[in-house]
């Protein structure tokens, strides 16, 4: 994973709450065996509507999505962050994110930015009034600079460290080999699917 720290991007608003992963990328696009081309299918059913935000010329090149509450609920498909990134998004702003989606996003360098409800409402309003707003994200300081204000956002220390330094989480687990071996020595396997 490439490290991320600061980036500037154009934000667009999609003020719908509980946007589920079936909207982000419908299941019929999950028959792939790689991660390629998913950006083209991002929100594909909603993009059938001409006035959908991502169909507008001003949305092209957008890097931040300002969404409604509870973004990414539903399935565990990591294709959802892959599709968002494939379209060009680097961050999503919401009041909260579904657990699996958030974990998947952080592992891919798509930043879930949590803000409180009044802040989300204010950002959404500004964005809708101007079609887009310019956003500057400073991960090290956990801040978003937008429309003259500075908004702080939370992120767990480990995810932040991994994003800032491009730390590979699998490598991090592999470095605990001694502890894993010790656990396996002290705990017999509970199942045997191979000897069956």
């Amino acid at each position: 994973m490439q490290p991320i720290n600061t980036f500037q991007a154009k934000a667009v608003a999609l003020p719908i709450e509980n946007i589920d992963t079936d909207q982000i990328i419908p299941a019929r696009y999950l028959k792939v065996t790689d991660k390629n081309g998913l950006g083209e299918a991002l929100f594909t059913d909603w993009r059938g509507e001409p006035d959908f935000v991502l169909n507008q010329p001003y949305a092209q090149g957008a890097g931040v999505l300002i969404a409604g509450h509870n973004f990414g609920c539903g399935s565990s498909r990591e294709h959802a962050p892959w599709a968002l990134q494939g379209f060009g998004f680097q961050a999503v702003i919401s009041t909260y994110f579904a657990d699996i989606f958030k974990g998947n996003s952080l592992k891919n360098g798509l930043l879930p930015i949590v803000v409180d409800a009044p802040t989300l409402a204010r950002l959404t309003e500004q964005c809708l009034a101007n079609q887009t707003i310019d956003v500057s994200v400073d991960l090290a300081n956990q801040q978003v600079h937008v429309a003259g204000e500075t908004i702080s956002f939370p992120i767990d220390a480990f995810s932040k460290h991994c994003l800032l330094h491009g730390v590979d989480q699998l490598g991090y687990i592999q470095a605990q080999e001694a502890a894993i071996q010790a656990y396996e020595t002290n705990h017999a396997a509970r199942v045997n699917t191979v000897g069956a």
Binding site: A27, H69, A157, Q176, I180, A189, N192
Partner: protein, 471 residues
């Protein structure tokens, strides 16, 4: 210190404890794999030259992109979708290359991943179980900590048998009382999600407690835990008890003899201790529950079947009002209209929520000697090849066929609509599955989630009915 069931399982699986900078490393007892969320993980293993650490704690099946159309004269289930075929072949190759046992399409134990794990006895109390599928929460019915993971994490577990996890909070969902006739486990969980909302469980592991939960069969408990994710919770748990042990005993892969006795002795230590505390408590009364049905485009949009669709104008919150307005527009429903009498085009009986033998029996009992309404299509899709064989041995397939329903091969089918089984744009379905999101069952399709009883009663009448009136 008094511990919850969740805390006991968590503590027993910590490989490296969390600290201020890092999450805990958790050991995974059982990793279930299917064709859709695993290919990129195996690719990662190959790119890094890694092996699967514990193939014997890993089990693969095919379910999501598999067709459920009847077998040909050659006994083979035809895969006509070339992209799906490629994905299925990729799973065969990956399992072969990495030594993972696979229940291949149409073989005797193949089926929906959350049906086969328990069926084979791999799912056991006190275990940690993961799968690249959000409905992994199903296995929590046995008192196992089971949750869905993304494909990156599938790779982590394949390579290390471990996951990095932030410790979730705990919530007790207490349901006391007695279910009335016609009210099922599906109605309990739909009522819970209607109460807490689709995001209400975010960050929590739910433990379902109370006399109404104790009275449920294992298959009913699976239905409840299955939909924990629809309330935003990654996992749902029910403490193991005599019902659990009786269901598991003599399954193909449960411990036998003295090992069984030792296992049960351990499992009896798992239920939450007296005085254990939760971060949140939600209480429902089973006596007050009615058959539930959804009217909108997320599983939290549910009402008693006799209720009326809510009106956006009654909502003060802008965001909620817009969401409801959007949902009713998609569903083609009017504010304040009843759902009883709503015409339905398709009834789907299946999915990891409601495709087990007891679900099929309940529906067959209502359909016995009856006909599916003219013009209505009913699909009955057993959750596994084993469920299918059992149903056929009991003659349930004959009841469904005689009623005019389609009797299909095992798989996820119309729950996920990526395998050829799907709604046409604009069609209405009553579905025993778990998600009514826009397009979930086919682009433009409109889903009412309900129990197998409500589904069967609707199939007979051609429109939504209160099943209590025909029992």
């Amino acid at each position: 210190m008094a511990k919850t069931l969740f805390e006991k399982i968590w503590d027993a699986h910590v490989v490296q404890a969390a600290d201020a900078e890092s999450p805990a490393t958790l050991y995974i007892d059982l990793h279930l794999v299917h064709e859709v969320t695993s290919p990129q993980a195996f690719t990662m293993l190959r790119e890094r030259g890694l092996t699967v650490r514990r193939p014997a704690q890993t089990l693969a099946t095919m379910d999501h992109s598999t067709p459920t159309t009847p077998r040909g004269a050659d006994g083979i289930i035809p895969v006509t979708d070339e992209i799906a075929r490629k994905q299925l072949n990729q799973l065969i190759q990956n399992c072969s290359d990495f030594g993972i046992p696979l229940y291949n399409l149409g073989t005797e134990n193949q089926g929906i991943v959350h049906v086969i794990g328990p069926e084979q006895g791999y799912t056991q109390p006190g275990m940690t179980i993961v799968c690249g599928d959000s409905h992994t929460s199903t296995h929590g019915a046995f008192g196992a900590l089971a949750f869905g993971i993304g494909t990156s994490e599938v790779g982590h577990v394949l390579a290390t048998q471990c996951l990095l996890q932030q410790k979730p909070q705990t919530a007790e969902i207490r349901i006391d009382g007695t279910l009335r006739a016609g009210v099922t486990a599906k109605d309990i969980i739909l009522a819970i999600i209607a109460k807490i909302g689709v995001g209400g469980g975010t960050g929590y592991v739910l433990e379902y407690t109370g006399s109404a939960i104790r009275a449920l069969t294992m298959e009913e408990r699976m239905t409840i835990c299955n939909m924990s994710i629809e309330g935003g919770a990654r996992a749902g748990l029910i403490a193991p008890d005599e019902t659990t042990f009786a269901w598991l005993k003599d399954r193909p892969h449960t411990p036998k003899g003295e090992a069984w006795d030792a296992a049960v002795e351990y499992w009896r230590t798992l239920p939450s201790d007296e005085g254990a505390t939760y971060d949140l408590q939600v209480v429902l009364n089973a006596d007050e529950l009615a058959p539930m049905i959804t009217y909108g485009t997320n599983p939290g949009m549910g009402i008693p079947v006799t209720g009326n669709v809510p009106a956006p104008s009654d909502l003060a919150d802008d965001s909620q009002r817009m969401a409801l307005d959007k949902a009713l527009n998609y569903m083609g429903l009017q504010p304040n209209q009843p759902l009883i009498g709503q015409k339905v085009d398709v009834v789907f009986l299946g999915s990891c929520t409601n495709s087990r033998i007891s679900d099929l029996r309940a529906a067959a009992k209502l359909l016995d000697g009856k006909k599916v309404a003219d013009g209505l299509r009913m699909l009955v899709v057993p959750g596994s090849q084993q469920v299918k064989r059992q149903a056929e041995a009991e003659g349930l397939d004959q009841i469904f066929r005689a009623a005019g329903a389609e009797w299909r091969e095992a798989g996820c089918s119309m729950c996920i609509a990526m395998n050829g089984d799907q709604l046409q744009p604009g069609q209405y379905a009553v579905s025993t599955s778990n998600r009514n999101f826009e397009g979930r069952q086919g682009k433009g399709g409109r889903t009412f989630l309900a129990s197998p009883l409500t589904a069967a009663a609707t199939a007979i009448n051609g429109h939504i009915v209160d099943v209590r009136e025909i029992l």
